[in-house]
Symmetry: C2
Subunit: 127 residues, 2 copies
DNA sequence: CTTTATGCAAAGCGTTTGCATACTT
DNA sequence: AAGTATGCAAACGCTTTGCATAAAG
């Protein structure tokens, strides 16, 4: 557990945001300018392996990191890419299990929509 | 609608397999050796946009293409990466909708497990 | 004849890695 | 001191793109 590892872990877990490696790198460098990009990727990978955080692969965009490692649904805006956590639901899990004869080790459920900001009067999102 | 586009579309829709762009490229070249890799990517992208096929982003692996463009769950082996289609279930969709106040434009549900071949006696999968 | 797609090769982007140095234990 | 992680920079894998040529409508 090096200082850089703690810093990176702290940034991911501090907020409910789902940041990209690059965003984490920028935030981390504000506190430790010597930090290397490779170190960020290496540590994010390790933290994921250890089950401390979760990696979210995003369609046609860099991966994002979630401080909640347990499987739970995500609501994603198709236009701006904003990611929102949804509570893991027993109801939903039961329905998923009902579909399957086999035991599941985990799931990844992405729900797509257009967020209010993007749908709204013209003021829009990142993309 | 060029010959190459038809060829590519044909390969994706001919079988229930979920092939990568590279696999599609190889199969296509067997019939049209002059075909360029870029053309495959361009056409797959167009076919996806037109809603004729679906792109499946895979974790830490190249994307795969599904001949069924409508949202439906996929069962993925964590070890060998094999992808299996599951029927879209009304039950499941209802549960998903029940979680949300907002309307969904589509979803992507990946269920992870270890397939029989990989779990089995030693005979294993691709990776 | 105008528009759109192709083949080719180079570039792009997110991510990974080899290596010598520096930290952790 | 032994082991592991770091910083740096180069390499990687998948995918995209610019451009001149060729095909489609």
């Amino acid at each position: 557990m090096t200082r850089q590892r703690q810093l990176i872990y702290g940034i991911v877990t501090a907020a409910p945001e789902h940041r990209t490696a690059e965003e984490i790198y920028d935030l981390a460098r504000a506190q430790m300018p010597s930090l290397a990009r490779g170190t960020v990727y290496r540590n994010l990978g390790l933290l994921v392996q250890e089950g401390l955080i979760r990696k979210l692969e995003m369609p046609d965009a860099p991966a994002r990191y979630d401080r909640e490692p347990r499987s739970h649904p995500h609501l994603i805006c198709q236009r701006c890419g904003r990611v929102e956590d949804l509570a893991a639901s027993e109801q939903l899990l039961a329905s998923i299990r009902a579909e399957l004869p086999v035991p599941i080790t985990g799931y990844d459920l992405k729900l797509y929509h257009i967020c209010p900001a993007c749908r709204g009067g013209g003021k829009d999102g990142i993309a």
